[in-house]
């Protein structure tokens, strides 16, 4: 049985079936099919959520190895493991709405999330002072646009003079939007191409198919 499920054609058949089951209800109103599609989506969601346990296992194993070896910064791995398992235990046994769980969110998760985001400030400041150089005409244009947009973005600027907002509006509605749309289109087309290639069996890595075993 396991050999059968490892066959490339079997895997592709399953993929094509699941794809059809999920996509067809978008175009044809078939209530029975929609029920199966919804159930399939729920199953997939549960599996994806369950995959977090694999990442938990991998992270735990890595941390334990670092602690055993007393690698540089091993004490932080101890703290991390402690917090992760305390939080999981409290969440599982006391519930996510319990006071200890909420306290952990507000005492650890919230401040760390804020710091992670804020820490980018120092990188940006350093980059602004040291890396943003007009080494050629193209980079000069890029810097000029960035400086003008930043200047217009500062709240006080618009209340003092109108022209920076006009320039910002122009740059945003022409170049900014165009690039954004090109990026979005490119991303969408790549996703479609990857999907088609997967269905045709040309992306074995995506399906976990080993080329030698087929």
């Amino acid at each position: 049985m396991s050999l059968l499920l490892k066959r490339k054609d079997v895997i592709l058949t399953i993929v094509a079936f699941c794809f059809s089951l999920t996509v067809i209800p978008y175009f044809f109103d078939v209530p029975a099919l929609e029920t199966y599609a919804n159930n399939l989506n729920k199953i997939v969601t549960v599996i994806i959520t369950g995959a977090f346990t694999i990442s938990l296992y991998a992270q735990t194993r890595r941390n334990v190895m670092m602690i055993k070896r007393r690698s540089s910064g091993w004490i932080y791995q101890v703290i991390q493991l402690l917090l992760v398992y305390v939080m999981i235990s409290i969440g599982l046994f006391l519930g996510q709405t319990s006071i200890p769980y909420t306290w952990l969110i507000e005492a650890f998760v919230m401040p760390c999330s804020v710091v992670l985001y804020s820490i980018a400030t120092f990188y940006m400041i350093s980059a602004g002072a040291r890396a943003f150089r007009a080494r050629n005409f193209n980079s000069f244009l890029f810097l000029l646009a960035a400086v003008l947009v930043l200047f217009a973005q500062a709240p006080m600027t618009e209340s003092l003079m109108p022209w920076p907002a006009v320039i910002r509006e122009y740059l945003g509605s022409t170049f900014g939007k165009t690039v954004g749309r090109v990026f979005g289109l490119g991303l969408s087309i790549s996703v479609i191409v990857l999907g088609v290639r997967t269905l045709l069996g040309k992306e074995p890595a995506t399906l976990g198919i080993m080329e030698e075993g087929g």
């Binding site: 709405t97 999330s113 985001y117 006080m156």
Partner: protein, 303 residues
């Protein structure tokens, strides 16, 4: 022994010591918080558009509130609180949905937790307006983890799929009895996405299919992508990061953390621009020359 190089102003500008850079950013950010300046701001077009949809809400209208994680909350807090304040004052009903675990903690930090009697930022207003859980707002929990199936269920067949709130309490007998499809929804507010909005589930299944107005309280990096969706009409308005939130606070007449942060935002922007200009002056005055001299072959090498 080499000659001691004298002080070169351009070299100093090109290589400003990082500790002074970081010290200045602390001064620029903390200074206005400790000693507010009151720099004026102007309300932008996007904020006015956003506010116009909030202003049209009537008592009993149902609004979907999509949660924000802590990562985005710190940037969009002012708009988050101001929008909820407006919704409460309009006596509109809220259906609160999440996709990540900490979004609930964020929401309850603003609206409080009635089970544990933990107050939130807007608890005084909620008490004054008699805005209560299960009567005026319901948290459905991390329902968006269901992906496409979740959006389709919420948009087209609410009653068949949603029976309880996040605690498992039945929602029968609440205002949700009147919600069947997206047609029963007056507004959707994405309270703090980590990128842009428009192409997500609510954009596709609510705004595009049913024409439900969709607003976003977006962080800085999501502004340009969301603007494209505003042009298509799928997204009706957005608050542009912290500045948009401050503008909304100004519009609704409830100054808060957003307006207070505008002094820091103005000075921070000008500081960054100054650093870029000073760095480039140093580059052209010294660094570029030094790089060219380094590449130029010396007389000794030619012999």
């Amino acid at each position: 022994m080499g000659e001691k190089e004298g002080f070169n102003i351009f070299k100093a500008m090109a290589y400003i010591d990082r500790k002074y850079l970081f010290l200045m950013i602390f001064v620029v950010v903390l200074g206005p918080i400790l000693f507010p300046i009151g720099i004026p701001i102007k309300v932008g077009k996007n904020t006015r558009l956003y506010y116009s949809y909030l202003d049209e809400l009537e008592s009993g209208d149902v609004v979907y509130w999509i949660g924000a994680t802590y990562r985005s909350f710190m940037e969009v807090k002012s708009g988050y609180v101001a929008t909820l304040r407006t919704i409460i004052e309009k006596d509109a009903k809220l259906i609160v949905v999440y996709s990540e675990g900490d979004e609930q903690a964020v929401f309850q930090s603003v609206m409080g937790n009635p089970d544990t009697n933990t107050p939130g930022i807007l608890t005084p207003l909620m008490e004054k307006s008699d805005y209560k859980y299960m009567e005026d707002y319901v948290e459905l929990g991390m329902i968006l983890v269901g992906g496409e199936a979740a959006y389709v269920s919420l948009a087209r067949n609410f009653q068949d799929f949603i029976h309880n709130d996040y605690k498992g309490t039945s929602i029968e007998g609440t205002f949700l009895d009147e919600v069947h499809t997206a047609e029963d929804i007056a507004l959707i507010v994405h309270a703090g996405p980590l990128g842009g909005i428009g192409a997500d589930g609510f954009g596709r299944h609510f705004a595009l299919d049913f024409g439900v107005p969709y607003l976003g309280n977006v962080i800085g990096v999501g502004i340009s992508t969301t603007q494209a969706w505003i042009d298509t009409g799928i997204v009706k308005g957005m608050l542009e990061s912290g500045r948009g939130g401050a503008e909304l606070e100004f519009l609704i007449g409830h100054p808060g953390v957003g307006l207070r942060a505008m002094d820091c935002m103005t000075l921070g922007h000008y500081y960054f621009i100054a650093l870029v200009i000073v760095g480039n002056i140093g580059y052209f005055g010294w660094e570029r020359q030094a790089m060219l001299e380094e590449k130029r072959p010396t007389g000794d090498e030619q012999i």
